[in-house]
């Protein structure tokens, strides 16, 4: 577990005049699981969205599996093929069935046959325990089921890295567990994961490192036992006392 897969070097990002990422330096090893937390607006989503080039950066470089992002549009396609993403709002394609959602990208990008794409989709839908709903449309599923489909859809592209942006925060409480369990299962398979979440139980169970961000900066990085047991920074402590006491 020492091979670097993501390397962010002095990354800076502005939205207009707002400086949302400040000198971000982060190295992620293959198979590592990171949890990213911090107050609302601190730049967590922006940070992970930069990794698959959904956002452009204005300073620094990001290297993903040896492909350097940074200059406009360079290597974007390569990087996106290695990186899967799961969104807070699921973002399933509502006009396509669950199976079609999972088959679209592999068919278009890997140009595999319909039968092969279907096999692959079924494989990952089984992994997230939702294969029996393959013929349904997203609107016919619960939030937790939709999010599991979204995870399967990303996995169908065979990513080496998975990004999660608050995957459970749009869910009703009783559905959070099924999605977290799915993610734990994924972590056990050794995929590289960066997960924005405030589910601290998940962080303790799965994360190798927890990263705390505030106002566009990485304030603290530590393994979960240290992070929760003995946070070094005042801002981290203030944040933790807020989310652990509500």
């Amino acid at each position: 577990m020492s091979q670097t897969t993501i390397h962010m070097n002095d990354v800076n990002k502005w939205f207009g005049t707002m400086h949302v990422l400040r000198d971000i330096n982060l190295t992620v090893n293959k198979g590592e699981h990171l949890v990213l937390c911090g107050p609302s607006g601190s730049g967590k989503s922006t940070l992970i969205r930069c990794i698959n080039a959904l956002e452009e950066i204005q300073g620094g470089t990001i290297e993903v599996n040896g492909n350097v992002l940074g200059k406009k549009g360079a290597n974007v396609d390569h990087v996106r093929r290695d990186v899967g993403m799961v969104f807070q709002q699921f973002n399933l394609f509502p006009h396509l069935t669950v199976l079609q959602n999972c088959m679209l990208a592999p068919r278009r990008i890997h140009r595999i046959s319909e039968a092969e794409a279907k096999d692959k989709a079924m494989h990952f839908l089984e992994q997230v325990h939702i294969a029996e709903h393959g013929h349904k449309y997203p609107a016919q599923l619960s939030g937790g089921q939709q999010q599991r489909v979204a995870i399967a859809r990303a996995l169908c592209m065979g990513p080496q890295i998975m990004l999660f942006d608050e995957p459970t925060s749009a869910l009703d409480p009783e559905m959070v567990k099924e999605v977290l369990d799915t993610m734990v299962g994924l972590a056990d398979q050794g995929i590289t994961m960066i997960c924005v979440t405030h589910e601290m139980g998940f962080a303790r169970a799965v994360a190798h490192r927890v990263i705390f961000m505030d106002r566009g900066e990485i304030i603290e990085t530590a393994p979960p036992t240290e992070f929760f047991g003995n946070p070094q920074h005042e801002r981290t402590r203030a944040f933790l006392s807020q989310i652990l006491n509500h």
């Binding site: 698959n52 959904l54 396609d77 996106r80 093929r81 990186v83 899967g84 993403m85 969104f87 709002q89 973002n91 399933l92 394609f93 509502p94 006009h95 679209l104 990208a105 278009r108 990008i109 449309y137 609107a139 016919q140 979204a150 859809r153 990303a154 592209m157």
Partner: protein, 216 residues
């Protein structure tokens, strides 16, 4: 000589209706294709393309269809293109339709949530697949009522071709009314024929809408 309104007169009117249907179909087809390109330009990331598309849409929305038809009909020969009347009319109607459809579809494309495009980008899908597989099918559903409403209006709008001398449905009715002195019968027939042309459009669209909505 006064004729009564009988079968030959009805046939004459139906012969006019042939032009109405032909012009409408051609304008849907060519106007739709061109309109799609303009709508894509209007929603693209390329600033000059957006601006040109905006000008195009404004031009056709801001001037009467009749004037557009006159300009195409009398303008084409000036730039050295001699065309038959019907071809000029189809060109004019298609341009007109493209401007309006582009604006309807622009709105529909933009009404598809941003998260859809983002999810497609995150999967690595390129622009063409994002549009064809993800955005346009959803925009199509959103635009259906407005698109069909415009098409129905376009069918009726083809009546302006009469003013340039084409014997389409309305003009055919006029001629038959003049020789039979039975305007009420004749125009009621003409109205029914228009209705019969537009009815399938609205029927198909409401069926399609029901089917698409069934997906929840």
């Amino acid at each position: 000589m006064i004729r009564t309104f009988g079968f030959p007169e009805l046939l004459f009117i139906l012969d006019g209706a042939k032009w109405t249907v032909l012009m409408s179909l051609a304008a849907f087809l060519f106007g739709g294709l061109l309109g799609l390109l303009v709508a894509l330009a209007r929603t693209s990331k390329i600033r000059p393309a957006r601006f040109l598309a905006l000008c195009y849409i404004q031009l056709f929305q801001g001037t009467p269809l009749l004037i557009q038809l006159f300009i195409v009909y009398f303008g084409l020969p000036i730039i050295g293109i001699r065309v038959e009347l019907w071809l000029a009319l189809i060109t004019g109607l298609s341009l007109h339709a493209s401007g309006f459809l582009a604006e309807i579809w622009r709105g529909s494309i933009q009404a598809v949530p941003e998260g859809q495009t983002e999810a497609a980008r995150a999967l690595g899908l390129g622009y063409i697949s994002r549009m064809r597989d993800v955005v346009l099918p959803q925009a199509f559903r959103i635009s259906l009522p407005a698109t069909v409403g415009f098409m129905v209006n376009l069918v009726k709008g083809t009546a302006l071709a009469a003013l340039l001398g084409l014997t389409e449905l309305t003009r055919a009715g006029q001629l038959m009314s003049n020789i039979t002195f039975e305007p009420l019968k004749v125009y009621a027939t003409v109205g029914l024929v228009y209705f019969a042309i537009c009815l399938p459009l609205t029927l198909v669209s409401s069926r399609l809408e029901r089917r698409l909505n069934a997906r929840g």
